[in-house]
């Protein structure tokens, strides 16, 4: 039986790319271009040529600034924050892309190693989500979980005097609601 070597991590590729390896740049591009392009297509309402320009601009900016990335493992949220900024600067913004940004923002726990742009982006997206929440209990749970300093679900349960299960289920349903909006769009587009 043959086994394939493991794919290099983002950190490894970032390190190599910063050292000038075009292969590493190519691998990073290949790894992330599809999802960045998908996001840009959402942001441009399916204008493919415009989306491709935005993808290109995203990677040009990213590769230029790559040496300043403090932690290669945090490449993913950083890259998405660049894509979001590139699309916003180009006036490419749709409700769907905004929902997608919000869903993406909840995917990664904040890290002290995050670049300021990625961190600010996440804070902005969480704030948008908090603005949508009317239920005070849900609002408190989401704020504690996703706003800095981030709390664990156990800490939230303790702080709000709630059963731990209530906190985890509430957060699960909250994230699921956001994804449900996106799946609804997908279903509408598929019909």
């Amino acid at each position: 039986m043959t086994s394939t070597p493991p794919e290099p991590t983002d950190s490894t590729l970032v390190e190599r790319a910063v050292a000038g390896s075009p292969t590493a740049e190519r691998m990073l591009y290949r790894r992330y271009a599809p999802v960045v392009r998908a996001y840009c297509r959402c942001a441009t309402s399916g204008d493919d040529s415009r989306a491709d320009d935005l993808v290109q601009e995203t990677f040009v900016r990213a590769f230029r600034a790559l040496s300043g990335l403090r932690d290669g493992a945090r490449l993913r949220p950083w890259l998405y924050s660049i894509a979001t900024n590139v699309c916003r600067d180009a006036g490419a913004q749709t409700a769907k892309a905004r929902r997608l940004e919000q869903a993406l923002a909840l995917e990664w726990a904040p890290s002290p190693e995050d670049e300021p742009s990625a961190r600010e982006q996440r804070i902005r997206k969480v704030a948008e989500l908090l603005d949508e929440i009317e239920d005070p209990k849900l609002r408190s749970i989401v704020r504690l979980r996703y706003r800095e300093p981030e709390h664990t679900t156990r800490e939230i349960a303790q702080k709000l005097n709630l059963p731990h299960g209530t906190v985890t289920v509430t957060l699960m349903r909250f994230r699921a609601r956001i994804k449900a909006d996106l799946v609804r769009i997908l279903l509408e587009e598929a019909s």
Binding site: T4, P22, E25, R26, Y29, R30, A33, P34, V35, R37, A38, Y39, C40, R41, C42, S45, G46, D47, D48, S49, D52, Q56, F59, V60, F63, K96, L100, A103, L104, L106, E107, M172, R173, R175, A176, R177, K179, A180, L182, V183, R184, I185, L186, L187, E189, A190, S191
Partner: protein, 276 residues
């Protein structure tokens, strides 16, 4: 554990066309938002969702007014709906057939077989040789579909969005749309260096099939690796024969720029399941 809802979600995100009934079931489950549905939704990977949304939207855009109208029997139809294709134009070989080609001394079955069958500068069968005038800015759109046979009848099956997972025996057919006349180059990058799969002479604006001698070309991505990036280039000028295609994946394509060749590009990533 896979539930009916998670199974439907998985298929939807994989770019598979759900039937109208299945879409209704899924929509109803999402509206009900019961615990099972919420858990299934929470388990959805956001990047998969992004890929599906980007792909689905691209498909919508293909059908929007103002896009180049398909010039031949189209692969475009309702989302995921198999559309009959001219039978004589479908060459969906089996992986074994490509294997035979490999056994004949070709290093890597899928794309080497394509290169063997397709001349690098294919004469324009649609009469594009006579196109004159300065080059117009061009945009290209690459469309990939699963090539299948249903009851013995060849059809272009489900649309493949970028990031789609295809099985080891899946053949993929390609079409591309040009907004202006251009030279076309289809390049794949799998586990090895980027390789030119196919090139054409100057083609008119419109929709074209990746085909030679009236035969649609089928690619088996598994032969190229577990993750294959396919890029269609539409160039204002022909690219020299000695061009190093391995440079293409570079984002700003400096090698092309230095040659004063302006190329639009569109691409997609196909992931393959390992052969059983």
């Amino acid at each position: 554990m896979s539930t009916p809802t998670s199974s439907l979600l998985h298929r939807l995100l994989a770019g598979e066309a759900l039937s109208a009934d299945e879409r209704m079931v899924l929509a109803a489950k999402i509206e009900s938002f019961d615990d099972e549905t919420a858990a299934a939704l929470d388990a959805v990977d956001v990047e998969s969702l992004a890929l599906a949304l980007g792909g689905a939207q691209a498909e919508k855009a293909d059908e929007a007014p103002g896009r180049p109208h398909p010039s031949t029997s189209p692969l475009t139809g309702g989302a995921g709906r198999p559309v009959s294709k001219r039978e004589s134009h479908l060459t969906v070989g089996s992986p074994r057939a490509w294997g035979r080609a490999a056994a004949m001394g070709l290093a890597v079955a899928a794309f080497v077989a394509l290169l063997t069958f397709i001349p690098r500068s294919e004469p324009s069968p649609d009469g594009a040789e006579g196109i004159k005038g300065p080059p117009a800015p061009v945009h290209v759109r690459l469309v990939a579909r699963v090539g299948t046979r249903q009851n013995g009848v060849p059809v272009a099956g489900a649309l493949l969005s970028s990031g789609a997972m295809v099985s080891s025996d899946t053949a993929v057919l390609f079409r591309y749309r040009l907004t202006a006349a251009a030279w076309g180059y289809l390049v794949a990058e799998g586990d090895g260096a980027p390789t030119l799969l196919y090139s054409t002479g100057r083609r008119r604006a419109g929709e074209h099939e990746v085909a030679t001698d009236g035969q649609a070309m089928a690619l088996f991505p598994v032969e190229l690796g577990s993750s294959v990036n396919i890029v269609m280039l539409a160039c204002s000028e022909p690219i020299d024969d000695d061009f190093d295609w391995a440079l293409l994946a570079s984002i700003d394509a400096p090698a092309l720029a230095r040659r004063n060749v302006s190329c639009a590009r569109d691409g997609l990533l196909l992931r393959t399941e390992p052969p059983r």
